[in-house]
């Protein structure tokens, strides 16, 4: 198989982009990525769009064709990949295999979603439609509800408190305000979120025990990457960041069918597979992007991957180890909570951030202090039933 690298990156701002059309949002980051890489006319062999559900969010299908058209990329091949909130990473995975197999040399991968044409309630319902159609969705299950249940179980087993969880919100906001593309552009104050007399109103319960500040916003946005075979990387103006490993795995569709509610085996397997392919160990990871649609997931994913013992990740957070100047920076762009979560775009934007950090081009306040060489992204589909892990590294 051929080796594959990332030679261009682009992103939109995340937030409310309802004034635009979906294909415009996708094209925005794609243009940036092509500009970043220095792609010449006719230089894209294949377009792959990661998008969870334009059909339901925008009443639009064939977004890959709309994007090729708006960017005049004909006659490039084009496909759309849908894997829930892991659509972006699955799109990267397909791009990787397309190049590695020799089917294409250069692939534009764009992940994006436009969710805010709908109300928050409607968007939550669209996302909930990926739960089991017979055993979960008809009973009113939503992703925040599953996360609330999961958080409660985790708190009961490991003694995590709401007060501790709020520190993650402070970290997410603290990173996001230094990310000019992030949806959230306000600081979070721990006392204001937890102990102020106004806290119950300004930071209400969303899915007990998860509060408003512990749940990601509903966002529009897209991110793009230019992937190429390393043997043609000299066509481009940026040195490649190499995709060293990709792993994915599934778990039971119904959360209640799992032997242990608190074990996210698809996360563990996806990370193991990605690290095995990369011939690296978990200790080799310098920086991570973990899918914190609900803040509890940053802890659990970090533990499941093997960064910390079960129940211990919060201690590392409280010691500052996961801040940009810490031992293992996590979610330096604000994560899904701070940067935002346009579902199909998240996986690509996680890798966008890793490339930005490995190139040392992030804003100084959130640029990791250590000389990071290897990064990992974990993109979480469903409630952990379809997970993709990607490991990238400097060449």
């Amino acid at each position: 198989m051929r080796q594959v690298g990332i030679v261009g990156i682009g992103t939109t701002s995340f937030g409310n982009l309802s004034a635009y059309k979906l294909q415009e949002i996708l094209a925005w980051s794609a243009c940036e990525a092509m500009e970043d890489a220095g792609v010449k006319k006719g230089g894209i062999d294949q377009v792959i769009v990661g998008n969870m559900s334009a059909g339901l969010f925008n009443h639009q299908v064939g977004v890959e064709s709309a994007m090729v058209s708006i960017l005049h990329l004909e006659p490039a091949m084009a496909e759309r990949v849908s894997n829930g909130p892991a659509s972006g990473s699955s799109a990267v995975k397909l791009a990787y295999t397309t190049i590695a197999s020799g089917l294409a040399d250069v692939v534009l991968v764009t992940g994006g979603e436009q969710m805010r044409k709908l109300s928050g309630w409607e968007a939550t319902d669209v996302v909930a439609a990926m739960t089991h159609p017979d055993a979960e969705y008809p009973y009113g299950v939503t992703l925040p509800a599953l996360a609330g249940m999961f958080t409660r179980a985790y708190m009961a087993k490991y003694g995590l408190t709401g007060d501790q969880l709020a520190h993650l919100a402070v970290k997410a906001h603290g990173n996001a305000i230094h990310n000019r593309w992030a949806h959230t552009q306000t600081r979070a104050d721990h006392a204001a979120l937890t102990s102020s007399p106004d806290a119950p109103v300004i930071n209400p319960m969303v899915a007990e025990p998860l509060r408003f500040s512990e749940v990601c916003p509903v966002s529009d946005g897209s991110a793009s990457l230019i992937l190429c075979a390393l043997e043609v990387a000299d066509r481009f103006k940026r040195p490649p960041i190499v995709i060293k490993g990709i792993g994915s795995a599934t778990d039971t569709h119904c959360v209640h069918n799992r032997a242990n509610l608190l074990e996210l085996s698809a996360v563990r397997l996806a990370a193991e597979r990605a690290l095995k392919m990369a011939k690296l160990g978990v200790g080799d990871i310098d920086i991570a992007q973990l899918h914190d649609a609900f803040l509890i997931l940053e802890l659990v994913l970090a533990e499941e991957v093997g960064f910390f013992e079960r129940g211990k990740a919060i201690e590392a957070v409280l010691r500052g180890e996961t801040k940009p100047d810490g031992r293992l920076p996590i979610n330096t762009d604000g994560g899904l909570k701070g940067r935002g979560h346009p579902v199909g775009g998240t996986g690509v934007s996680q890798i966008y951030e890793l490339v930005k950090q490995l190139r040392r081009e992030a804003e100084p306040e959130r640029q990791v202090k250590k000389d990071a060489k290897v990064g990992m992204a974990v993109n979480f589909g469903g409630f952990g039933n379809n997970v993709v892990c990607t490991v990238v590294a400097k060449q």
């Binding site: 409310n16 109300s119 552009q185 306000t186 104050d189 106004d198 119950p200 109103v201 300004i202 930071n203």
Partner: protein
Amino acid sequence: MQPGMEMEMKLRPPAMELPPYPPKFITLADGSKLVIRPITREEIPTILETIVPLIQVERDFYDIVAARFYSEMLGILRYRVKDGFCLVGTIDGEIASICNSRLINPKQGMSYHTMTIDRGLRCGAQMFAAKMEYHIEILGQEEVFIVAESPIGFRRWMIEYELEYRPEIWHELGGPPTYVLTRELYFKAKDRLVTGTRPVPPELLKTADKLILPREYPQLPGWKR
């Protein structure tokens, strides 16, 4: 009487004596303090100046809300709106959010608009809550007529307060169907949606004494005052 005042007095609506809205403060998610207080007639020009830059912002219906807010405040300033009031929310003295309303009669209120400059901290939700608090708890009204001109407003007011749908009622803003906040609905929602501390410590209240015009508008990237 000054020349012309006789006619002027005929044009002015009769006014009720309204008990003042006691200032309060709310600690926002970022730790900043939102001080909410009523404005004086002398401060209306500052409110008008605050509104003007937003009159041409189409996004989220700021244009229609700003244009109407401006005319309502001008109506209050020029004595053409009966029993109108305006509350201002400041952070470190800078205007972050405003809302206005009026009384139809001692029992019924007519909610006008709520507009937030400093977004992302839910100031608008707190200003609307303060306005309803004034109508129901301080003015002792039975119900407030409310319409929404933007999806954000509809979600914040109609859905979160579970307002009563009464499209047969005429609202002065015309067009959108009228919903009603009754005393019962207000007190049902109060614990969940209304907050704030009184009295405001003098030092903090002093920061809101002299209104500072917004220096920037997130709705207008790059715009600076």
